[in-house]
């Protein structure tokens, strides 16, 4: 879990993903020679801060978003949200402006809900603040800010180790309205003819999806994927005997939104471990669900 902890500690809110992109490029450079298959690396200005890895003859693409929620400093001490962070007075925030590093606390006005910080000096307008990482590991759980979606990124990187045929995509802006998957999906479909997608992301513990019972296969959230594709995934998971849970929600979204609405006929399915304390500094995931997530991805990339 050292890799996961490192991923959680890199600040990369939507729009400023470059630090995590840099980390991933270094990581890929260093470790790809130990992977079963050497991928083709696609990156650079035409992909902004995204990365695509192409292994063998791909039939399926895995999307893991690298951005996180956070806050932007507005005027005076005011903060505005990046994505939909949980807010509670006292949450520790970190950042950096031209005057130096920042460590402060989030303040939520009890009456208006307005957000501010309590740093001893004014912070430069437009500076991003993210949750301070307090990474906690037990025998059965990991807990930290940003498991959503550093765990999805971790799953994708671990998948790279044994992958023979497939595409791994590290995308941007997912937490704040999207903005990269449309062009990534177009490029992949037009270049490789791939139109099957899996969303390597983290979902919610609910009354129907409990920690420890396996990775969630989502039958729908605010959007509804094509039934026949989800059925194929369920069947593969069942036949392989991998612990999993079926999720049915009416809200929530993921990188799949851009696949669904883009100008290519993508089939997609969200497959990810559930977490509790969503979008807070205390996101927590059961290790058994992480394990079944990785195993299911390994099997799906072979059989889909």
């Amino acid at each position: 879990m050292q890799l996961l902890e490192t991923l959680c500690r890199v600040a990369a809110p939507s729009g400023n993903e470059a630090p995590l992109t840099k980390f991933l490029l270094d990581y890929i450079q260093r470790y790809q020679s130990s992977w079963r298959t050497l991928p083709t690396l696609l990156q650079g200005e035409e992909f902004q801060d995204c990365i695509i890895l192409v292994f063998g003859k791909p039939r399926t693409a895995v999307f893991a978003h690298i951005d996180s929620i956070g806050f932007t400093v507005r005027y005076g001490r005011q903060l505005v949200r990046i994505g939909g962070p949980d807010v509670e007075t006292g949450y520790q925030l970190v950042g950096q402006d031209t005057e130096g590093p920042i460590l402060c606390r989030l303040v939520v006005d009890e009456n208006t809900g307005a957000l501010s910080h309590d740093f001893h000096r004014e912070i430069e307008r437009g500076t991003e603040l993210t949750f301070q990482c307090d990474f906690r590991e037990t025998e059965t759980t990991v807990q930290s800010c940003y498991l959503d979606n550093r765990l999805g990124v971790w799953n994708a990187l671990r998948l790279c180790e044994t992958l023979e045929d497939g595409i791994i995509v590290f995308s941007c802006w997912e937490e704040h309205g999207g903005g990269s998957v449309a062009y990534l999906a177009k490029y992949i479909y037009e270049t490789y003819g791939v139109r099957q997608a899996l969303i390597s992301d983290i979902t919610w513990v609910t009354e129907g999806v409990q920690p420890g019972l396996g990775v969630a296969i989502s039958m729908r959230d605010s959007l509804i994927p094509r039934r026949s594709y989800v059925e194929r995934i369920r069947r593969i998971a069942q036949e392989a005997g991998i612990p999993h849970q079926l999720e049915v929600e009416s809200s929530g979204g993921s990188d799949a939104k851009e696949l669904q609405h883009g100008a290519q006929p993508w089939d997609w399915c969200f497959v990810g471990a559930p977490e509790d304390n969503v979008h807070s500094p205390n996101e927590i995931v059961d290790k058994r669900d992480i394990a079944s997530m990785l195993v299911l991805y390994q099997v799906l990339l072979k059989r889909l």
Copy 2:
């Protein structure tokens, strides 16, 4: 109206349109030899569950969505919406899971508005339920669930009989956020250079659009089409002496949303009969409006 009744009886909620796709492919196979022009049929995985029919040298494309509203079984007896169905305790719902066919009633919690079913056993998670079809015909009206949009599909199929130049599109997911028109529109524009669209769908009876007074030509709903294109359509309808009504709304949408927001310069206009009891099991349409809808489409496909 036998064809219309058959169309209304096929369960095909957004995301699981395959049963209606199969019906339409069979229908086209059987009847196309009697049509004035033999179309080119485009279908298969690259179009998911959509179908495109290309007649002659097309200048205009007609979009008819084949999906319907409905419900997904969540956890326990809970239901979540597919699209925006009208809800009332007692509405009859039908479906199918691995244990067999389902017939039950919708239950709406009076206090919370929460939706559930009253079937005698638990229904498999993720199962889709749709309204049970009670098709009623009088001398002047048809009434059923899913006239929206099986009537638009019916109109498109009848239009095929005499069509010489044009494209007919059967699209998916319209009731639940869209997801197919973006790639269909891209394919059609890039392959045939066609950028004129008509939306063969059903609208609402309002204070300004009354049953029996003719098909509605919509000047706007939540979106505003290009004025010059709508004016051309109005002029053709007037010159042909076809009964019609002008609709002006601030809400509502259709497959046109994806045309408007897609990366091709589509001109579009919603042209469809009005219905009352929208999105309920008791949608009702005046037969005169069905007749003027079909006639207007026949004229428009010739003159646009």
Copy 3:
């Protein structure tokens, strides 16, 4: 400011931009010979009512939307909104239907908020009404309806006079959900390889952005642009010593929405003067902010 006044007086609400398109085509035809560089003009049905001007070897595209907010006549005396106009009983509205020119007042129902007009006769269904233009100029300010975005259009036209390398885009539907930038952006990226954008539009006076202190460079609104691109723009503005203000908002949008969500990797930044009395007949802008806006665009198009 005569050009600006003329632009403000042309009625061109979203969906019916053709009158302003015609004015711009005439203006370009008449004045382009006096510009430093003769542009290539792209227009016609494949661009609907939009216009693209390509100068030299472009690296950056400037988007200025030509549509405005307004009202559509519904049934009886009812009005529905085009975009998000400010509404107040007594605002003067103008329009035209087949019976002749229209001058009337907006009426806002105090209890329901419903909108209507007080014209002496019924107005034809679907007719568009816009604010009557009362253009007021002082030594330090200009005031009128539709400075948003006729001032952005004016800025783009003035920029044409000295531009050597760059693209100027006049877009449609920005005030009402968008609908042209997706295809314009695709065409520009695929034809010229350009993926840097500036949004020539008008923003709001707020507690952090004051009239007279210079053009606003927006670090975010409802969407968040790529940090590294905004930083480049800030640096160029600083080095050039051009008065400017940094804006940080959580709401609001622009043509950039379609760039962000489109299938090309556009970097974008909103750069525009702030106005007060937003979306009313009395929009007001400080002339110093207009001046710094134009100068900043001139510098940015050279250095980006």
